[in-house]
């Protein structure tokens, strides 16, 4: 299993809570310096996986190696070589920015002769220079996230785990945060990040889609968009939309229908054959039809298609 090119190697990793299988025998290899996205709905097993990889949860069975250390047998070595940002902001709100940084520098045993330089670096990176004495709890969400990231990487870990790092952060702050992530990856850090934002998934080098504890697709964003879609995608402009979705969902040969903005996305087996059928089907039900054409799926379409394929009728929360 030891592998010079891989930072994270997961083999048959299983986690059960009682009868509930949270993570179902997954296998993954994550390369050094890769930004790896772990995408899935709430409760799919993202956080459970990340917590096992950080040694916070004991796997029921299977193995995982992080930065060359076994998470089950050498959790302390794993922890010295990773940075972890939990889903919920979990620095100390009642401490000052600098106090949080010093705390984590201490916890990661940053050597005294590097301490000043690392703290400066973290403040610089988190764009918090001059804000050292603010109470952490008073910072805006985006600043808090950057501070949390700064604290998690004070010891220059080769691998970082970010569990939904940008949830509840405004889009601009989210964008800045991703710039940071890419900056670190350029320096050779492996980033394992979970998200349920589709546009964030596009920023990743590779993605794994996890659903109900199982990895249902794996690849680069463009590979996923090209290969993983079950069937083909049609864009349908029509009025009224709500009505059209309802009738199309029960139409023959339509695998799925959903509202996207002011049009519909329709999953069908064969786009060319379906276009005239859909037009007629809608007109017959006195729905005004505009443009109907084949389009390239986005990640969200892929995701909906994959998750409904393994569980039709299940709501996907984006």
């Amino acid at each position: 299993m030891p592998d010079a090119n891989n930072s994270v190697v997961i083999e048959n990793l299983l986690k059960q809570f009682g009868d509930f299988v949270a993570v179902d025998r997954i296998n993954l290899q994550i390369r050094k310096g890769e930004v790896f996205g772990f995408l899935g709905p709430n409760g799919a097993g993202k956080s459970t996986t990340i917590r096992m990889l950080c040694g916070l949860l004991t796997p029921t069975s299977g193995r995982a190696q992080v930065a060359g250390y076994d998470v089950g047998r050498e959790p302390e070595s794993v922890r010295q070589n990773i940075g972890y940002m939990s889903q919920k902001f979990s620095l100390y709100n009642d401490l000052k920015v600098i106090e949080n940084i010093r705390l984590f520098a201490g916890l990661y045993s940053v050597p005294a002769n590097q301490l000043r330089e690392r703290i400066e670096w973290a403040l610089e990176m988190a764009n918090l220079k001059g804000q050292e004495n603010l109470i952490t709890g008073t910072l805006p969400g985006g600043w808090k996230q950057r501070l949390a990231l700064g604290c998690a990487v004070l010891h220059k870990p080769p691998v970082i785990f970010l569990d939904e790092p940008t949830s509840g952060v405004d889009p601009i702050a989210r964008r800045q945060f991703w710039d940071l992530i890419h900056h670190m990856a350029e320096e050779g850090v492996t980033v394992f990040v979970t998200t349920h934002y589709m546009e964030e998934a596009e920023y990743c080098n590779r993605l794994a889609l996890i659903f109900r504890g199982k990895i249902v697709a794996l690849g680069t964003p463009s590979e996923l968009k090209q290969k993983s879609m079950q069937g083909e995608l049609l864009l349908v402009e029509c009025q009224p939309l709500g009505n059209a979705v309802e009738v199309l969902q029960s139409a023959p040969d339509v695998m799925d229908a959903a509202v996207f903005g002011n049009a519909l996305h329709l999953v069908v087996r064969n786009a060319t054959a379906a276009i005239p059928q859909v037009k007629k089907y809608l007109s017959d039900r006195s729905i005004t039809v505009g443009r109907v054409e084949k389009i390239h799926p986005g990640l969200e379409d892929v995701f909906v298609s994959l998750t409904t394929a393994s569980d039709s009728g299940k709501e996907w929360e984006a």
Partner: protein
């Protein structure tokens, strides 16, 4: 065990205590308030209890008797009434704890050497006070009675004999029988229960509740470093508070301090480890601040308050309860406190308390270190 990591946790904890007004109040003000509260507020001595009298005789002798009541430190004759109804009312509305009725033929019967009874109506709603009142009243009346007998004998030319039997008492340890001397030393156990168990269980439960513990345990810090880092600041605070409380007891309430200060510190340190370990346990079991505070009150504060011998003497408890007190660390600590303060018992003779306390200290400290796992589930 890395000293850097321990120090990082401890420093963080101190900053948090200093920044949080509520913890500061508990740490600095609460101990002082508790000592003052128990020093002043809890007074088991009964003095100057209000008494109404209904003197139906109105003679020189009846006045002599009533003067003896007034002269006693235990009674305060606040009013003289002229009928039974007024006397009954005074007990009903609580203006008097006792009503004394002197019969109309009091002096006449005394003069004739016939037995006579003085009636005492006692408010029995507080049985302890009532019992004490009855005892004091009997003592006053008997004293008067034997003086009359002596007079009577003397008047008949017989040589007055001194009283045949009497008890010569000398009170040791708490010479003035001051409640505060009995109570205040035990307050130290209460203060430490609050600081040790209550406050620490809250701070740890808070970390789980807010998710900060998850971030903490994702770092290389070990369970022992987290535990020591969190507990050492509270240990120091606890010992500091013990010293403050002891000084207030000695210099403000004039509680005698006759034993060894070192023994006080050592036994306090042991008890502090006991309550800190309990607090640590509680936080592991509880998971939420609310549950932690309630469990802490239930298993440390209340036993220290009710069953440790702090206020209520263990010898007076039912046998079953006396056995239960044996598994309470607070019992041994309170016992040590009282012996050190009042009796000045040499440290070597405290082994009946110090040995059990040391056993609790060791066992609980070991169990606490085992209880904490750096795992979420």
């Amino acid at each position: 065990m890395s000293f850097t990591r321990f120090l990082a946790v401890a420093r963080k904890e101190v900053v948090q205590i200093l920044r949080d007004a509520r913890s500061l109040i508990i740490v600095v003000i609460m101990p002082v308030i508790l000592v003052l509260l128990f020093g002043y507020g809890v007074n088991l001595d009964l003095k100057g209890l209000p008494v109404y009298v209904y003197d139906r005789d109105g003679s020189q002798q009846s006045q002599d008797l009533l003067k003896r009541f007034q002269a006693s430190a235990y009674f305060d004759v606040v009013r003289v009434v002229n009928d039974y109804a007024a006397l009954a009312r005074s007990l009903d509305d609580g203006h008097a704890k006792m009503g004394i009725v002197v019969p109309w033929d009091f002096s006449e019967r005394l003069h004739e050497g016939r037995p006579v009874q003085v009636q005492a109506l006692v408010d029995g709603s507080d049985d302890n006070t009532a019992n004490v009142l009855i005892g004091y009243a009997q003592a006053v009346v008997q004293g008067y009675s034997s003086d009359i007998q002596l007079d009577w004998l003397r008047n008949r030319g017989q040589l007055a004999q001194p009283a045949v039997l009497s008890v010569e008492t000398r009170t040791w340890y708490n010479e003035d029988l001051e409640s505060s001397a009995f109570i205040v030393p035990g307050v130290l156990a209460l203060v430490m229960s609050v600081i040790g168990a209550f406050l620490t269980s809250l701070t740890i439960a808070r970390e789980w509740e807010r998710g900060t513990m998850e971030q903490l345990i994702s770092t290389p810090v070990t369970p022992a470093e987290i535990m020591l880092g969190k507990l050492v600041p509270y240990f120091i605070i606890g010992i500091f508070d013990v010293i403050v409380c002891a000084l207030i007891a000695i210099y403000w309430f004039q509680v005698p301090f006759r034993g060894s200060f070192l023994t006080l510190l050592v036994s306090s340190a042991m008890f502090m480890v006991v309550v800190l370990s309990l607090g640590f346990f509680i936080s592991v079991i509880a998971g939420s601040q609310l549950a932690a505070s309630q469990i802490a009150l239930l298993i440390t504060f209340l036993p220290a308050f009710l069953l440790s011998g702090f206020l209520y003497s263990i010898e007076q408890m039912p046998i079953a309860l006396q056995w239960i007190t044996r598994i309470l660390p607070a019992r041994y600590y309170v016992s040590v406190l009282k012996k050190i303060f009042l009796k000045g018992t040499p440290t070597a003779m405290l082994y009946t308390d110090l040995v059990p306390l040391a056993v609790f200290t060791l066992v609980l400290a070991v169990l606490a270190t085992r209880a904490f796992h750096k795992r979420l589930a």
